[in-house]
Point group: C2
Chain length 273, copies 2
Amino acid sequence: MRSSPVSGALHSLSKPEPHSSGEGRVLEHLRSASGTCLHVIDPYKTRLGEAIEKARALEDLGFPLLILGSTDYCDFEQHVPRFVEALKDAVAIPVVLHFPPRPGRGFPVADEADAVLFTAVLNSSRTYFVWRSYLETLTALARRHPAPLRLPEFLFTAGMTFRPDPVSGAAVGAVPSDETPAALETYASVITTVGFDLVYLYSRHEHVPVELCESLRRRVGPDPLMVASGGVRSRDQIDAYLRAGVSFVAFGGALETPDWRTVLRQLAGRRDR
Amino acid sequence: MRSSPVSGALHSLSKPEPHSSGEGRVLEHLRSASGTCLHVIDPYKTRLGEAIEKARALEDLGFPLLILGSTDYCDFEQHVPRFVEALKDAVAIPVVLHFPPRPGRGFPVADEADAVLFTAVLNSSRTYFVWRSYLETLTALARRHPAPLRLPEFLFTAGMTFRPDPVSGAAVGAVPSDETPAALETYASVITTVGFDLVYLYSRHEHVPVELCESLRRRVGPDPLMVASGGVRSRDQIDAYLRAGVSFVAFGGALETPDWRTVLRQLAGRRDR
């Protein structure tokens, strides 16, 4: 515990702490794997057989985990848990869910997943998507009969979307994040004061600017893990993000092609073989 | 949903929304009762019989609810639930818990309480007390066998303590809140971005400055309910806080005297009878 008074920008408050309840394994694993890539499989765009092949390829290439995610989803219960179970059977790396919450239901949870990105969309116009959804999710879980035998780890994630994106607007009330220095300073204060584990930066139709990542990293300090995602199509882009202080560069659509094995090896920096 | 881009200070994000899961009754009740007093009964300093008498007196005076709280508590399970049950039998106003979380256990919860102040201590040096404790509490609830039949409503509360306070330091890692305008602006950004329902301002050994309440209210806008507490001993103080935009003035120790009925009527502004 620190005893010094709070500094103006509150940046000193976000010291990560060991989890005290047996949680935290996926987070620790992620911390140890900083500087790599992540792939997001959309189970509504990828057949299960292909998802399994991709998961094995990712594991072989040393990807630290596998993200299953989709902004537009339906029949989660009928569709996603069987993906999670099949992927868990196929690979040893953690399977992490990244789906938006829905009012009245909260975040969808497949019990067998290793972790769930509990995303507070800082640029949402609706407090539900900032964090009221957390409570709804967890009170729903608390009321389940019978109680779940296990629960995924919940990763505190500050989400921010950049540039016009009507899909994210409809799904989570996102209005494009303000990219001015003053706004970044405010976002950084929120991130460090609250102590998010992860910051997930996303641009659906453009790119998260590399300079913005650099500026935000400088403001939040070294602790929070930072993911940049959206429109990633080249190894050079990935390297630029990593040099800017991004912890992980995530790509999804890049592998939604029959030629995904070649693309994956290129993005993973394995041009040599 | 708003479609305008986020403004620099992010103040536009905190629009309260109707709760979608049957939650929110205590919050709605509180919103309708703004401009009044609250009393905090410490069940470790007050005998149950006296607590019941006080609860009845508060209800008669139109207090909107009753807070049970203590910074230093032990044997919560053996002690507090029986207070809650007895008080619920005695009065119709909601009974709300205000206890700090403890690492490894989270917030203590008595199922029969109407609400729990889920306090994120913004000036804590430990992220556990900002909001990691939320998750610990709720995953513990989710794992309970059998599942609880009912759960209290959780009120999203931003807590801030002012001026040196070793007890809050030891209990929740609180370092005195920075009172500079720049720090207040940052705190306000956190409060409005996250969309807290309540802001609970507390000074254990001094007073929360009235001008600070006014300044913070101006920065956070009209939405979050604001409680000022600590060292409240006169009706003039209460009136000054209410004029400064505070929603509720809370007092505890003021009634820890045999003469509490007289003090209560004075503080409640009933000098006339």
